[in-house]
Symmetry: C2
Subunit: 448 residues, 2 copies
């Protein structure tokens, strides 16, 4: 598949020039002294918390960020390449609420988080275990990061997302990862088994919690998603792998709320991908996101819009690829499965098609001839399984058959499906040692 270029090259250049102008003349506030010190030492113009970036300095730093790198999973078959022609899907991130058709909407717990780790592990389309897929509200604040990291490391063998709130969570995540891999932190920097997301305060500012985490991860050589070009190559040590991360959307002006299901979100996703390509940095954007409160038709259409746009535009890292409802406020079990279907369809599209002789099948066309049929032809049998996408939830039969079986909506099917997956779940093998060490680490720090 070729990549979709929404904007003209001329538009990209104009946006780039406007960005440089803002960085040089308006500047960015950094609310964390050690970060400001880094800029001073590097010769940037600084006034109090505000840092100004000359175009030359910006472009020098941008050039140092790698365009492609690999996250190493504890199962090497599940390594994930960030950048190039690859795309990675990552589940929901950050919702304080969780819901399902049986129990309704409620505050999420560690059990919910663990369940989402298991669903992500079982998915054919998720590439990285999510970060805070559901906030573990039943666990004391200070212990939450450790418990989530433990679940991510134990119940899945994919690369995972590191804690993102402050330097301490970052440090903890790095230490636990070193235990998991039984290696030194220097060796961990070569593996890069995780990636973390650090957010700006728009417009044009960063707070101490995020900056301290950014610096902690950067020191350890861990890749990060950072929400604005201004910081991408500049506040991290040289060459730290970063992702150019855009999640900008429109406000629902009538309510003054965020609208992640707006078509402007899809436009921004295409723009983010294109600007990141211009800078040669991997990009983040999109996701199966919606403003809907239910796993209904609105959720389906908005999620597909954003996920497909990210996929076609050449985004590399798609956070929120499964589970989100209410514009990031709730994670839904049924929506997780519905989005997994969306992701499977989008990856099928992304796989592309080539016009090679086997696919053009001129000999078969000649054999079947006008008025014939292909359904029983050997060529069909030999190819359909790999050529066609196989849905997770078969809802393809005709009305009569579907109605006889109870006429279920897709939400009901999804409800059955996630329970089946959790029931069939089997823990991936892991050395007892590492597991024991991780448990000891948490116990020592936070008690039993």
């Amino acid at each position: 598949m070729q990549q979709f270029e929404y904007f003209t090259d001329d538009d990209v250049r104009k946006i780039h020039e406007a960005t440089l102008r803002v960085l040089e003349t308006v500047g960015v506030d950094f609310g964390y002294v050690p970060a400001v010190e880094v800029f001073k030492k590097a010769g940037f113009k600084v006034e109090g918390e505000r840092v100004f970036f000359s175009p030359k300095m910006v472009m020098e730093q941008v050039a140092k960020a790698p365009s492609e790198y690999t996250l190493q999973a504890r199962n090497p078959e599940k390594n994930v390449v960030i950048g190039g022609d690859n795309i990675a899907y990552i589940p929901c991130y950050g919702p304080p609420f969780v819901c399902d058709l049986d129990r309704g909407r409620r505050e999420s717990t560690l059990e919910d988080f663990t369940n989402f780790v298991k669903l992500s592990y079982a998915s054919k389309s998720m590439d990285i275990t999510g970060g805070m897929m559901a906030e573990p509200n039943d666990i004391p604040h200070e212990r939450r990061n450790a418990e989530m990291m433990y679940a991510s490391m134990r119940y899945s063998d994919r690369p995972f997302m590191g804690g993102a709130i402050g330097a301490e969570a970052a440090r903890e995540t790095i230490e636990m990862a070193a235990i998991l891999f039984g290696c030194s932190e220097a060796e961990l920097a070569d593996k890069m088994p995780m990636i973390s997301i650090l957010c700006t305060l728009t417009p044009l500012a960063y707070d101490d919690r995020m900056l301290s985490a950014i610096m902690e991860y950067a020191k350890a050589g861990m890749p990060q998603l950072i929400s604005s070009l201004s910081i991408a190559g500049a506040t991290s040590p040289e060459g730290t792998p970063v992702v150019f991360s855009g999640s900008s959307s429109a406000a629902a002006m009538r309510y003054g709320t965020l609208s992640v299901g707006a078509p402007e979100m899809a436009v921004n996703t295409a723009a983010t991908a294109q600007m990141a390509r211009f800078y040669g940095i991997p990009s983040r954007g999109g996701g199966a996101i919606t403003d809907s409160k239910l796993p209904d038709a609105q959720a389906g259409m908005e999620s597909m819009m954003s996920q497909l746009m990210a996929t076609l535009s050449g985004v590399h890292f798609v956070l929120h690829s499964a589970g989100i409802l209410e514009g990031y406020m709730a994670a839904s079990y049924e929506k997780f499965i519905l989005d997994d279907e969306i992701c499977g369809m989008c990856k099928r599209i992304k796989r592309g098609e080539t016009a090679d002789p086997e696919k053009l099948a001129l000999d078969v066309i000649a054999q079947v001839g006008p008025g014939g049929e292909y359904l029983t032809h050997m060529h069909t049998f030999q190819n359909f399984r790999k050529a066609f996408y196989t849905p997770i939830m078969e809802q393809k039969e005709a009305y009569a058959g579907w109605n006889e079986k109870g006429g279920e909506s897709i939400e009901k099917v999804a409800n059955r499906k996630w329970k089946e997956i959790l029931e069939a779940y089997q823990e991936p093998a892991m050395p007892d040692e590492a597991l024991g060490e991780l448990e000891k680490y948490i116990e020592k720090k936070y008690g039993r």
Copy 2:
């Protein structure tokens, strides 16, 4: 917005060459003697019903088809350009069943058809009144086309779709259109107020009903959607406006049924658009189509996938843009409204963005500065209405407010919406004369 090119130029060329090869060596069956005669007379190689096309002859005919033309509405403000950088959305076509949340699924009637004409008239995103949006099962077979044309001409002032089953329906449609416009059939050929869809029998064949209608419309100079290149420029008189019409999809192999919600459908849509561009002929593809039996999340995701792909790929004519359920078998009132939302979102994306100084707003960024806010800035007030898409069904507020108001799913909102629209509907003005003449025409032909 730039157009999405899914395939490489090399793939397009290979597909083109394979097509020419099939047309030349395998040929196409035409089950209608007058059509075969046209080919014979034009010097094509013919064996019985089968016609063979030399590459040179194909390309000569293709070159005669216009790349852009205008359908004239009886309200000139609603003229529709087919081709170029334009996109036209057209509602569902062909379902024998209709459904809504109140009355469930049933055989459709003329009242349903008329309601869909009214909903299409009221829509901001539909450009052309649909063809057989719901089969009028309560009307005798022979009278159905006339009644549908009457409703299309009376209850909307947009261009419309002509009857497509056989030469007689084509002739009748042309005669009624001439009455509507109070003009001769020769003058009608300049106006082109309608477009019709004629289908092939895949693979590589056409039957007499379709061919006779094609020839009837072509004689009258009316534009047509024709489902395969093989016939696009070849069975119509020279220069007849056509649309390169692709609606190919995958089979759901487990059931042996058509699957219009498959991702392969989206791939085919992108391919159709690209091949049509290669030939310089407007294209048809996509639509808000789904295999789902309900207006649920599956319907939302599949419909958005296909509609967005058509929109990004540069398709010109998107049939089935509103209402379809069950892979063309049923038209749904709620789905019509849901799809109208999808269409509005897709048209917003298609509108594009430019990086002009007013949009980059460097002065505003400098005024607001780091850590400021834009919500109360004059620039926001001056721009958000035209910049942001306004949803038909506002479901953007936060959970608490939405829940207090009853916590409705989007299907329920759509149910309320279509009733409101039909209640508020007002007939567009039309000369009493034309209306009377149309009624007389039908009465004379079929009785009261």
